[in-house]
Symmetry: C2
Subunit: 407 residues, 2 copies
Amino acid sequence: MELFNVVTVPEARRQIEQSWEAKWQIERVSLTEALGRRLAADVFSREEVPGFTRSTVDGFALRAEETFGATETLPACFELMGEILMGVVPEIDLLPGQAARVSTGGMLPPGANAVVMLEHTELLDPKSLAVIRPVAPGENLVFQGEDIACGSQVLTTGHRLRPQDLGLLAAVGITAVPVRLPMKVGIISTGNELVMPENEPLFGQVRDINSYVLSGLVQESGGLPLLFGIARDDPDAILALAEKALSLCDLVLISGGSSVGSRDYTVQVLKSLGTPGILFHGVSLKPGKPTLAAVADGRLVFGLPGHPVSVMVVFDLLIKPLLSLGGYGQERHPAVRAKMTRSLASGAGREEHVRVRLIERDGELWADPVLGKSGLISTMVKAQGTVVIPLEAEGLSMGQEVGVHLF
Amino acid sequence: MELFNVVTVPEARRQIEQSWEAKWQIERVSLTEALGRRLAADVFSREEVPGFTRSTVDGFALRAEETFGATETLPACFELMGEILMGVVPEIDLLPGQAARVSTGGMLPPGANAVVMLEHTELLDPKSLAVIRPVAPGENLVFQGEDIACGSQVLTTGHRLRPQDLGLLAAVGITAVPVRLPMKVGIISTGNELVMPENEPLFGQVRDINSYVLSGLVQESGGLPLLFGIARDDPDAILALAEKALSLCDLVLISGGSSVGSRDYTVQVLKSLGTPGILFHGVSLKPGKPTLAAVADGRLVFGLPGHPVSVMVVFDLLIKPLLSLGGYGQERHPAVRAKMTRSLASGAGREEHVRVRLIERDGELWADPVLGKSGLISTMVKAQGTVVIPLEAEGLSMGQEVGVHLF
């Protein structure tokens, strides 16, 4: 009987990166449409921010040196020259002994080098100001160009745009950016027992779950899912759907039929799709062992297990990074630290992914394994993340600190 | 001079929850459109999953008792009765001493109570099977109704739909669900110095950042942002935009002009919008102190600080939970644990939010404060999350373990 030629997760990644390269298409979107999109180019600022030295508080602009030694009993007194108006060039040019009222964000007038906060002053009369605490030169100011220097790189190709990044782009006057189009991902489920969810299964049939789990996972990772439906367990049926999906998509996911049972035709189909063909068949991973990948004329095809839990684990490790980054780089969110509520054994020689629920108890975070067979979708619904038992480890002990990858 | 009547964050939340209630509108969406949406009703299963007892492996169905004691040298032998076909009711009814081939997901035939894995068998001839390891009754099976019981509640009102939840809904034949419509959030920036990002600022002017930061934050929290542009520092101008926004939105955010400086008209406008009016003015929070909230005839209006960093902190604490949950419930993602790279002092009596970058060093995670004035948008772009110094604490010491809230 043909068995798996099993590779580790890092080896599987290495083989994929060697044989396949992400090709991004690009579109331009406005700032209000750009949230969550990935930049298709480095972004540089053509100006400095702020464009002028500004106050960060409501207060009075003055010469800092003239406040040195000021106290409540011995305030420093200034002649008040009026108010700096917002959004216009100040008409006030301060001489020694003079101060001008300025609001948060207002421009520092010529002659001043600091702003004293309103709370540290007293207005003696409309023309006389008493300052009761000293300020240092530069205090309560943001200097011209301090936030963003002219010509500096502010964001990098591939960066996922967050709300603050949109603010930064607005600040430098960039109102549209080139972003990567979502990778198109074809999704196929295989199995004679499957029916569409809207159909009533006959006795012996079940509804297709994986197409919907995968559709959600692809969307969440920034891809565009295209559902191609259910193929019967028949090489011609699988081949027909796979070729249709390949002609329209950058990447194709076929779930079910990736094992070595008599009805597992996916491997046979993947061999025939194009060159170089099968990269690996089997990953030392639990759940998720019967996973295969092939490259057919520049397009990547995965054969995934039939169990939805296995599908989620394999997706997270091998497919999500490709959709978001085009490869297996950095940028995995750091794990949440928690302690195991119980011990778990694991066979050495495979990487095991355990579903856990997080529990807060006495101010500490605990990872509580959600036990249940990997075929049960309900266990994934109850879990909040996974804990990895590494390839070489034989288990985890109760109370041991672990990293939980949230999903 | 009128100063703030400062409340703590929990007190601000209490006042908002007492005076305002989220009103959700509802729409029905199909599974492929439902990712990330919040359920508007509890979901119950009208069926059991799986609908029949299934094999979780590729192997042979048989009576477990007849394998007891089987070893490689002394296998248990069975008469092979053919294969269970997928998706149809088995025609095979096993008698003692008989076995039938079954694939992963296939139905257990009558007469069998377990499945032995392919790997633990040898085919002696097309009609004879040797089993070399015993199985227990029920082994390698998922029982009828084991995943989801008929009539059980599978998801709860308000739950945010993840990929595995879509799979669960597909499994029980629910192909469309009622979800909450995003809350409409009006966004207004105020300030004479502000220009739209597409305009070239004159000397003394700056571009509006907050509208775009808020637009992104609202989207990220499941709301629908509506931008109403920039109001000049003039009560009539602010009132006109605020009334327009209130007539179209569930919630209105006005940034800038929430302090007590001479040009801070937001509080004046918020007093005049409707009853009960101002809830609080000032929160013991750094950054974010000059925050105010008002309720005007059932609609909630926030006056936010002008600094984008303050805007983000206040949004996260007071506004995001309302858009996603309608109140200040649970469901904040647990913090990532990290150690401080340096000590930080904080004034007691206010909750301080410090922006940090995460650094991995010797397998440990460190939180490294991103220093910089709160007016700098670039500090938020460099940061990956925030660390909270609680109201009563006076700072954090180097090496101290803290929780980092990622954004």
